[in-house]
């Protein structure tokens, strides 16, 4: 276990050390203490290491992550795991705006609630939220899965493309071109796997599925607001 005191050793040294780890590294376990809400913690990682961040983080923790597991033992500021490519990011607390924004792969698990714009423009990432999500989540979501065990705020899935949205609780309102869709057996299977990966004990049958009506896929002036 490598322990890194962020306050004493500084952000640049932390990220340089983590980014220097290769696929074959034997330094696979890292602990970051004194995070104190710092921004850009553990960004741009590209090795199968596990980083445990003790405390809450600021903006963009685990941004553009590849391969690594980043476990935040606190809450995460805006843009956690933004543009993640692969790997896993776990937030024990709540996540602020834009969680998993534009993520292209990997798994983001938020054990508390997520704020607005969760999964905005997601491009393949899987996001599992144990609690609720805020308004405008999954805006222009292209692909991947967003699982919400609680409720969703206004305008869920506005201008959505091919991402799948699974919500157990209520949806305050759906955004443009987002509709409820049939939950077929294959979706139950997908959701079962997602819930397992997200360490969530909810039952797949309790969820509704939402996705694109595909009416905005080709520009039509009659669809303009």
């Amino acid at each position: 276990m490598q322990t890194f005191d962020l306050e004493a050793q500084g952000l640049r040294n932390l990220n340089a050390a983590l980014q220097a780890q290769s696929k074959e590294t034997n330094q696979t376990a890292w602990e970051v203490v004194n995070a104190k809400g710092s921004h850009a913690i553990a960004v741009g990682l590209d090795a199968p290491i596990e980083v445990n961040v003790k405390g809450s983080t600021g903006y963009y923790c685990a941004g553009m992550n590849k391969q690594a597991t980043v476990h935040i033992h606190g809450s995460a500021g805006p843009g956690v795991a933004e543009n993640m490519m692969s790997g896993t990011v776990i937030v024990e607390g709540d996540a602020s705006q834009y969680a998993g924004a534009t993520g292209r792969g990997g798994t983001l698990v938020i054990k508390g609630n997520a704020s607005s714009r969760c999964g905005i423009s997601m491009k393949g990432i899987d996001i599992i939220v144990h609690g609720n999500i805020g308004h405008m989540s999954a805006f222009m979501a292209q692909s991947g899965n967003l699982v919400v065990c609680g409720d969703a705020g206004d305008a869920l899935g506005d201008s959505i493309y091919e991402a799948r949205l699974f919500v157990r609780g209520s949806v305050k309102s759906l955004g443009a071109d987002c509709i409820e869709k049939e939950m077929r057996p294959e979706h139950i299977e997908i959701l079962k796997d997602l819930l397992e990966r997200g360490e969530c004990d909810a039952k797949p049958e309790e969820f509704k599925r939402y996705g694109s009506a595909r009416k905005l896929y080709n520009f039509d002036i009659d669809n303009a607001y």
Binding site: L11, R12, N15, A16, Q19, H39, A40, V43, G44, D46, G58, Y59, Y60, G63, M64, K66, P78, G79, E82, N83, M85, Q97, Y98, A101, T102, R104, R117, I120, S121, K123, G124, F139, M140, Q142, S143, S159, Y161, E162, Y217, N218, F219, I221
Partner: protein, 447 residues
């Protein structure tokens, strides 16, 4: 005009300057279709521009340098503020961001080839980085756009500079749309969207909203890339003084400022023609912001929007820019809108020089298309050579002017070398009207 039946002269028909033929045609088109006109390119209306400025040249009070013999340096370094590895360019003329998707793969390759031969950089666009472009560009600027199509940390690390695009001159405040007819399998895969559907590019970034957020976003990009890459912030010309200040405050190494003459792949004509500022109105305000923050020349200013020749380059630099970027001009150098395709332009209902329906993917020159047959018409090697020739000519022209003004580096050109031909240009560029020491709004003077 014949007299009427009684022999009295008739009134001569007069076309309205307000309801011109083109305005009336647009009314008829809108009435027939119910949809606004979408096109590519920049503003086509006549605007105050570099043509409204002149150089004074040396005389008794200034000492000229000898024609093409005495040294006149053209190099520029971009990104000296924070980046460990600033970009070194041989010439202060860069290639602006144009997407793969809007342009064909071979066209992007040609831009890389031409720019590299000329010793300058090219820029990706709203579609990610292609191998053709990376492979043929000695110096490549990677754009971080609201859509984040194709964005990944590996490309961030293999670029030479990063450009966070907040806006562009053709449509400040607007997003983009790549229509389905240009979404080939490859374009669709790079953007992670189904083939054939219209792809919307958002007008706002997904993970930051204001200058304080942008500062943290730039920190993240620097941390991912080890603080090596210069970070540019590109803005459309609207409030250049404040936007330049905010970009600098957010940590930009370079500010890229695009006027309304700057092109786009596609947007509404009403947007192109009625939103934003001409570039000569933008440059002095951006320079004032840099000077007020005591960072002029430490944070470099790259300007674009209607740059066509070496005189435009020299004028932009004299107003205080460190470099310029070209987009439309580079496409023309590659062969866009060439009269040799006139018959095909006619078949599309247009004419060479006016073709701007780039979004339809039917470009006879094979540049703004993803159609494999049309793309074959374009030779990236010849295109690169033409672009290099053009960049060399522009540089020689700018040097000619600089030497005539007595300068041994293009960056030594200064506002005092210029005069304005019109009141409008004088007011916008803050350059005295020719034959006077005055421009509208000059401090200490009255109107």
């Amino acid at each position: 005009m014949k007299d009427d039946a009684k022999g009295a002269p008739r009134t001569v028909p007069i076309q309205s300057a307000t309801f011109s033929n083109s305005a009336n045609a647009e009314i008829r088109r809108a009435a027939a279709t119910g949809i606004y006109d979408i096109r590519g390119g920049g503003s086509k209306r006549k605007l105050p521009h570099f043509d409204d400025l002149l150089f004074l040249g040396a005389s008794i009070s200034r000492y000229a340098l000898e024609g093409y013999r005495e040294k006149c340096d053209t190099s520029v370094t971009l990104g000296t503020r924070f980046a460990k590895k600033p970009i070194q360019l041989d010439i202060p003329i860069t290639i602006a961001g144009m997407s793969f998707g809007a342009l064909s793969g071979p066209a992007k390759e040609a831009l890389g080839r031409g720019a590299s031969m000329a010793g300058t950089s090219t820029t990706t666009g709203d579609g990610g980085m292609t191998e053709e472009e990376r492979g043929h560009s000695k110096q490549l600027v990677y754009q971080v756009l609201p859509s984040r199509y194709g964005m990944n940390p590996d490309d961030l690390r293999r670029c030479d500079a990063i450009e966070v695009v907040v806006g562009q001159g053709a449509k400040p405040g607007g997003g983009g749309m790549l229509l389905g007819q240009k979404i080939s399998d490859r374009v669709a895969e790079m953007r992670n969207l189904p083939k054939g559907i219209d792809q919307r590019s958002a007008c706002r970034h997904p993970d930051w909203t204001g200058p304080d957020d942008l500062e943290i976003k730039i920190l993240e990009l620097r941390e991912i890339t080890g603080w090596e890459k210069p970070i540019y912030v590109k803005i459309g010309g609207t409030r250049p003084y404040f936007d330049t200040m905010l970009a600098i405050k957010a940590g930009a190494d370079v500010v890229v400022l695009d006027g309304m003459q700057g092109g786009t792949a596609a947007t509404q004509d009403v947007f192109i023609e009625h939103v934003g500022l001409p570039i000569i109105a933008c440059i002095p305000e951006a320079v004032r912001a840099l000077q007020d923050m005591e960072l002029h020349r430490e944070v470099q200013l790259v300007v674009s929007g209607g740059i066509r020749n070496g005189a435009d380059v020299a004028k932009a630099l004299a107003l205080g820019a460190d470099a310029v970027a070209i987009g439309t001009a580079a496409m023309i150098a590659l062969g866009d809108n060439d009269p040799k395709w006139e018959a095909e332009y006619n078949a599309l209902g247009t004419t060479a020089g006016a073709y701007d329906d780039w979004h339809e993917g039917k470009d006879p020159a094979g540049i703004t298309t993803q159609d494999p047959e049309l793309s074959k018409r374009f030779d990236p090697i010849a295109g690169g050579r033409h672009l290099n020739n053009y960049l060399k000519v522009m540089t020689l022209e700018a040097q000619t002017i600089a030497r005539a003004c007595g300068h041994n580096h293009l960056h030594n050109l200064e506002p005092e070398d210029l005069v304005s031909l019109t009141m409008e240009a004088a007011a916008m560029a803050k350059i005295p009207l020719a034959g006077t020491q005055w421009y509208p709004g000059k401090p200490g003077t009255s109107y």
